[in-house]
Each structure stands twice: as C-alpha cells, then as structure tokens.
C-alpha cells in the first residue's frame, strides 16, 4: 500500500501529495507550538483567575467594612 492509496483513497478531490507531505513535515513543529500556546494560556488564566479572586475578595471585604462601619 502506498501513501496515495492509503491516505488519499478516501478523498474525492485530489488532496495533492505535496500538500499531504508538507503537513507531515510541519505537523510536529506546529503541534508543539499549539501545546505550548495552550499550556501558557492555562497558566496565565490560572494567575488572572487568582488575581480576580483576590481582587474580588478584597472588594468584598472593603464593601463589608464600609457597610458595617458605624460612623
């Protein structure tokens, strides 16, 4: 079985051998970049979430203080 009869047997349009081969070549690199990007997003989301939580708890505390301030 060749690449042509393997990968492209399902395609009703010619996927182009060059286009298929290129994906195999760039897939590893772009896949790695994709993982790093998502992990980075998770990290930044985690910290921004923490920051938000801290900020909102500060606000709540301030709000509470103001509300209970007897003056």
């Amino acid at each position: 079985m060749t690449f042509t009869t393997g990968f492209s047997m399902l395609a009703y349009l010619d996927p182009g051998t060059g286009s298929m081969v290129l994906q195999l070549l760039i897939g590893g690199f772009l896949g790695g970049a994709f993982i790093i990007k998502h992990q980075w997003k998770r990290i930044t989301n985690f910290f921004s979430k923490n920051k938000d939580t801290t900020a909102s708890s500060d606000n709540t505390e301030n709000g509470k203080n103001q509300a209970t301030d007897p003056k």
Partner: protein, 467 residues
C-alpha cells in the same frame, strides 16, 4: 412536475442538489451513509446547527429521490442569494475562512473531518457566513493529514493574503481559477518580503515548493512517506496556525478618509429627505420580495429596503464602500442586507464546467426590484454605454426599477465632463425616457426637490423579462 439538477453540484459522488417543483432537495447517496449517520450519532450535526455554522435541513420523503442509489433525501433551507468569493469584500472573505476553520475544529471534536474546503461551500444567510454542504464531512482517521488543506490554502488563504498584502482587487483571480489561486502563483506574487513571515513561509511558499517537488512522481514520493503519521495535536497545530495567520490579516482602505468617503454634496438635507421619502413610497407601492441596490455605495438607501425585512443585496464596484457596508452590517447584526462587489460594466459571468458551475449575475435574477440611484451617469458618461443598452441590461435584471436620472446640469455629471468632449447629445431627460420606454413602462416620476434629479419608478415590459 419540473425537475432541475443544480449545475454546480456534480463533483462529489456523495450526493447532489436538485430543484423539484420549485423546492430545493439534496439527495444523499448510499456511499455517504456511514458519514451521514456518524454526523447524527456523534452530535456534530446538532452542534453545528446550534452554533449556526451549518445550513439546516429537514429529512424529506425518500420517494423524492432521483436515482436508485439514494440513502436519504433532505430539504435544506434555501439561501436567498448565492454569492461567490470574487464578490466578497475582504472582511466577508475573512469571516468565511474563519467559519470554515471553526467547522473543521468542531468536526474533529466529534471524530470527523472536512473532506473539502471550497470557498463556494460558504454562503451568507441572515448576515452571517454559513456552510452549505452537508455532505462535506467524513470520519476522521487517526494519523491522516487534512485532505482539504490544499484546497483551503488555495480557496481562502492565498486570496486573503494577496488582498491584504498586495492589492485588494486580487480576489478577482478566483474568477479565472475555479479551484482557488494556485500557490506557486501566490508565492511569486507575494515576493521575497513575505518569506520572512514564518506562517506565509509554511502555508504558501513551502507549500508551493512541496507541491512542485511531489508533482512529478507522486507515487514514489508518497511511498516513502507511507509510514509517517500526523498526530491529532499536529493537525490541531496546523489548523491553529492557519487561524492565526488569517486573524492577523487586515485591510483598511488607504488614502481616503472613510468619514468623507461619500459626501452627498449635490443633496442638501431637504432633497436627501425627499429622495428617501420617494423611495419609501415606491417600495410601499410595489412591496417587493427582494431588492438589488446597484451602485449601493455604503448601503444608505439599501437599508431602506432591508430594514423593512426585504432581503437586499447592496452591490458596488468599490472595495472600500463594500467593506464599510459589510462591517456596518456585522456590527449592527443586520439580517437582511448583503453587501457585495460587482462591476456592472463587467458583471460576474457564468464560469466553471460547461459555463454553468457558477451563475452570472443576470442568471441569479431577475430580482423583484432594483435600485439604480446616482448610477446612470457613471454608466452612460464614464463608460460610454448608450442609454438604450443600459435600459436593456437593467430590464434583464429586474421586474421593477427605481432609477434616478442625473442630468448634465448636476455637479457630479459636470465633474465627469470636465476633462472630456461631450459626445452625449441624447443624454437628457427626454432621451432617457425614450430609451427606457422600449423596455419599461414608466409608472411614476418625481423630481427631487431642490435638485436637478428625478426619481423614476418603472415596470419591466413582459417581452423583456426573463421567464
């Protein structure tokens, strides 16, 4: 019973579209059974419908099938006006590309993949791009690259990059290349500078090189790669990179301030309001189902029709005007307006196999009502088209016409005549009425207050209208 196969629906053996007694149907052939069932069972169909990414359909009676190998017959929602990529402005094209990528990402989540990525599979419905080919999905096979990668790059990436980086008018190349802009051509047109962009380097330049390298002996080259696999993460990485590339592409009209783009210098507030009111009264009288605004600029008058719920196409030759109109339409969530590029002196022709794959502008008509506002002087004077020929063409496009006659005294016509000989002795109101009376009956004509212009309402004579 009348039956007609849709001329552009023949490449995919999974099924085809046809019109029976005025209703649009899609036959699914037995060969597509597995894929169609998986679309249902995996939840992909429901998910795409929920997100408004795929045209909805109802399953119809199987007795309506046209051939013995039918598995199902569908009745898809009909798109009021089929538009083509060479008629889309930059942002519309970009939205269409991103929609295709979103659909592929969603398909992968459900264990399926797009087997084609033709720009002709995207249409605009209710002001948004939508995928219209329900038969474009197939089960994802682990390790397989995306079979539609080549087509996506040729149909979406290449035109968008060229429009953004070289010249906004280059989407016209889609008219001469039915399967998208060849990547070697795109690579050469982009030139050296674009090779410093890693994304352009991969998806355009290296892609074109790879196509050329493997074109001579695909079997042998392919054999060497038979054991290579592309992981799901690799595939996601490629899609993410394509998305990132397209998202960073921009185009804004240069050398013109948008705010001043269309100043109605020959209209004061009164005449402008009168023109608007007259147009409204003409719409009231005809009550059209569809409107084409020919030479719509940024759609100011098109919106008089579309805001009444009438599906309206706003055509203009100027990419900046269409772009501005489209952005306005998207920002305001307008549902009945579609701004498109159209050069009326060289309108979209019928192209593709047997001249029938993509319809010409007139084949997509006739429309119930056309507007030709502040247009006639551009056609008659700038382009030297005789008045009777303009009338003949417009009679093919519409059943009813609202046309503004702009006489020579008007400052806009004066501007056109300032640098050339006046070879238009018949360009006057009398000559205009005589020429148009050959193809239309003039129902009303109202001079616009405080201007030299007259707004006509005409009805196409029976002998001229398309059956």
């Amino acid at each position: 019973m009348t039956l007609e196969r849709i001329a552009g629906s023949f490449r995919d053996p999974s099924g085809f579209l046809y019109v029976r007694d005025g209703m649009l149907y899609r036959q699914i052939n037995a060969s597509y059974r597995e894929s169609y069932d998986q679309m249902h069972e995996s939840g992909l169909l429901e998910s795409l419908w929920k997100q408004g990414l795929l045209i909805s359909h109802a399953e119809a009676d199987s007795a309506l099938a046209q051939t013995d190998n039918a598995y199902r017959v569908l009745r898809p929602t009909r798109i009021p006006f089929i538009s083509y990529p060479y008629e889309w402005c930059f942002s519309a094209y970009r939205d269409a590309a991103l929609t295709t990528l979103s659909i592929q990402t969603e398909a992968l989540r459900h264990g399926m993949t797009l087997k084609d990525a033709s720009a002709y599979n995207i249409q605009f419905l209710d002001g948004k791009p939508i995928f219209i080919d329900t038969l474009s999905f197939e089960p994802y096979k682990q390790g397989h690259p995306w079979v539609a990668y080549r087509q996506f790059c040729q149909h979406f990436l290449a035109p968008l990059v060229l429009m953004s980086r070289k010249d906004i008018r280059l989407n016209a190349l889609m008219q001469c290349h039915i399967d998208g802009i060849p990547l070697d051509m795109c690579s050469r047109l982009l030139g050296l500078q674009s090779k410093f962009s890693p994304r352009f380097m991969l998806h355009i330049h290296a892609h074109a090189k790879s196509q050329a390298r493997h074109a001579t002996n695909p079997n042998q080259d392919a054999h060497k790669s038979q054991n290579a696999k592309l992981s799901m993460v690799g595939l996601q990485g490629i899609l993410d990179s394509l998305k990132g590339t397209i998202e960073t592409l921009r185009w804004d009209p240069q050398g013109t301030e948008w705010g001043d783009y269309y100043n109605f210098t020959n209209y004061n507030d009164n005449s402008f309001a009168h023109k608007r009111k007259t147009l409204e009264s003409y719409l009231d009288q005809v009550n059209p189902q569809t409107v084409w605004d020919l030479g719509a600029n940024t759609g100011q008058f098109s919106r008089i029709a579309s805001s009444r719920g009438i599906p309206t196409i706003a055509f203009d030759i100027d990419p900046a005007a269409v772009e501005k109109n489209y952005r306005h339409m998207r920002e305001n969530g307008e549902k009945n307006l579609l701004p498109l590029l159209q050069d009326l002196t060289n309108p979209s022709s019928s192209i593709g196999w047997d001249h029938t794959e993509r319809e010409s502008l007139s084949e997509r008509g006739p429309v119930d009502m056309a507007f030709a506002l502040a247009l006639i002087h551009h056609l008659a004077i700038s382009n030297n088209v005789p008045l009777d020929r303009i009338a003949k063409f417009l009679a093919r496009l519409c059943q009813n016409l609202v046309i503004e006659f702009v006489p020579k005294q008007d400052s806009q016509v004066q501007k056109l005549l300032v640098s050339r000989e006046d070879i238009f002795p018949d360009y006057n109101q009398n000559g205009f009425e005589q020429a148009f009376s050959q193809y239309f009956s003039i129902a009303e004509s109202i001079p616009i207050t405080e201007s030299h212009r007259t707004l006509y309402r005409m009805k196409t004579l029976e002998k001229n209208s398309k059956p």
